[in-house]
């Protein structure tokens, strides 16, 4: 697929793993430090639409998948990053696209991930007096 080729040319060694699940589903494992570069390129230069991010607590650490949709070809591309469970932290994508603002707030409160440079990292769904350090979607 052309989209993936273009990304491979641009980022080359920064892609840790490329998983083509099916014709219209692809997953790219990347380093959290490269996230902004990838997101910026995919959103601004390739014109993809940011759909949503999914946070998953796994035994290896906290995974975040950023789903982008290339609507003209129907491809859903997911960027996967793995964060350390003890101090999960990654750069916020809200400065690039507003669409990430709410979901980053949600992942912050439900999984305890800190998004650097997020303009407004308040609670979105949980009440303001929710006990600190209690993250509902983390596994015990």
């Amino acid at each position: 697929m052309k989209i993936i080729q273009k990304l491979e040319e641009k980022f080359d060694k920064k892609i840790i793993k490329y998983d083509k699940k099916s014709e219209r589903r692809s997953y790219l494992d990347i380093n959290p430090a490269d996230l902004t570069d990838f997101a910026q390129y995919i959103f601004r230069d390739m014109g993809a639409r940011f759909v949503i991010a999914s946070g998953v607590d796994t035994p290896k650490g906290i995974e975040i998948l950023y789903h982008f949709s290339f609507d003209s070809s129907g491809l859903v591309l997911s960027l996967r990053i793995l964060l350390d469970r003890n101090s999960p932290e990654v750069e916020s994508l809200t400065p690039i696209f507003k669409a990430a603002e709410w979901i980053e707030r949600e992942i912050n409160e439900l999984l305890g991930v800190n998004f650097r440079n997020h303009p407004n990292l308040r609670h979105l769904l949980l009440p303001d007096d929710w006990p600190k350090g209690n993250y509902p979607l983390r596994r015990k």
């Binding site: 940011f50 949503i52 998953v56 859903v76 696209f97 979105l124 769904l125």
Partner: protein, 399 residues
């Protein structure tokens, strides 16, 4: 006085039992102009994603059906698509048509519901009554085909729960034909009426750039000229690629464009249902792939709900329950775009602008205008709707 103190805050929401997603809008106004909007969510967070982890794949579909009363088949369609993507399941053709029929019936009744509410906010209570009157036969078709007016319980991983009896098809055809004159009526009312033009044209404009920034979807995006529709772009296990229809777009970006897109989409829905019914007459066979096991892995399913793309992500470890289930409803993106659409508009237009993305706007029932300094209530929900209706009345007299 400082800049901050000149602003008055109008809180809208948060609670109303009829609302799809309870939201709390804080309108910042200076005089008549809206200068800011703050949105708070989470008043009815039910923890469905967490709950889904404790249900089997068969049960999860029923759980997700209850996310929303209006999009009660869009979430299940996205959900079965996600699990089928995970496991690589091929769905029998007959089931694809049945899925699309139910999905489109839902779109028609959802758009009619919105049209009625929009009419009410604009002071056209006749539109409201009539739109909801003509919504009833659509619910009757749903009941006729599925046994339920809402929450149809038709979707199932690998197919659908129940078949459509071919002897019922002429009856459904007739009911759909009866709907067309009603749609023509609404098209006339909405698209030709000068007062509706005055109230909705150029109001609450969302540009193409705003749509991309906020990731808005569905009629909200298509009314700003963004040509996206999951049904065409990635139909997955539905029948949209097997029938002939068009994606409706409009370049305006204002409330009027959203109105036009929704009204015209209902015609397309009727077209899709009729073609699917024709196909059902010739496509015989199974309606269920009889899935036994879900392998470990991950899957993505999305579907064009009446309000826009609903997106589901599922991860399995090979047991009969998902380890993670993520749902993103369309209003999650569309409601945020209100922050842009409402800026610079007047308070009397705020009701229809916030309603234009179709967030189930029953929350206005609880609106109140509070003066920031004294914390005193100035206006309530009825006042805001009254102001909107008075504006229409005034315009009508002037014309």
């Amino acid at each position: 006085m400082t800049e901050e103190k000149k602003k008055t805050i109008i809180p809208i929401g948060p609670y109303h039992p009829l609302q799809e997603e309870p939201e709390f809008f804080k309108l910042y106004v200076e005089g008549e102009r809206v200068v800011g909007l703050d949105i708070e969510l989470g008043y009815n967070h039910r923890g469905i994603e967490k709950l889904a982890e404790s249900k089997t794949y068969d049960q999860v579909i029923f759980l997700l059906e209850r996310i929303c009363g209006i999009c009660s088949t869009s979430h299940p369609i996205a959900a079965v698509n996600a699990v089928e993507d995970l496991a690589g399941i091929k769905v029998p053709e007959r089931a694809l048509y049945i899925r699309s029929i139910i999905g489109e019936l839902e779109r028609i009744h959802s758009h009619l519901l919105w049209l009625g509410l929009a009419g009410h906010f604009l002071g056209y209570n006749t539109v409201w009554m009539w739109a909801w009157k003509y919504r009833e036969p659509v619910l009757d078709i749903c009941e006729f085909l599925t046994g339920n007016r809402n929450h149809y319980a038709m979707m199932k991983v690998g197919g659908v729960q129940r078949d459509i009896d071919n002897s019922d098809i002429p009856q459904v055809y007739k009911m759909l034909d009866d709907l067309i004159p009603a749609l023509d009526l609404f098209k006339g009312v909405a698209i030709d009426d000068p007062v509706i033009h005055a109230r909705t044209k150029g109001v609450g404009i969302l540009t193409r750039e705003d749509v991309l920034q906020y990731g808005a979807v569905g009629p909200t995006a298509r009314a700003s000229g963004v040509d996206i529709d999951v049904r065409r772009d990635d139909p997955q296990n539905t029948a949209y690629h097997l029938v002939d229809w068009q994606v409706i777009t409009s370049p305006g970006g204002d409330v009027f464009a959203k109105l036009v897109v929704r009204v015209l989409e209902m015609y397309e829905s009727v077209k899709i249902i009729k073609q699917c019914l024709e196909k059902l007459k010739v496509v015989k066979g199974e309606i269920d792939a009889k899935v036994k096991e879900i392998p470990p892995g991950e899957g993505i399913g999305h579907y064009e709900a009446p309000r826009g793309e609903t997106f589901h992500y599922v991860r399995s470890d090979g047991t009969n329950r998902p380890v993670r289930y993520k749902v993103r409803a369309p209003s999650y993106m569309n409601v945020a775009s209100n922050q842009k659409a409402v800026l610079g508009e007047t308070v009397s237009d705020a009701a229809i602008i916030l309603a234009a993305v179709d967030p189930c706007y029953c929350c206005t029932e609880r609106v109140a205008v509070v003066d920031k300094d004294t914390n005193k209530k100035i206006l309530n929900s009825k006042d805001l709707i009254r102001m909107s209706q008075e504006k229409t009345e005034k315009l009508r007299k002037e014309m």
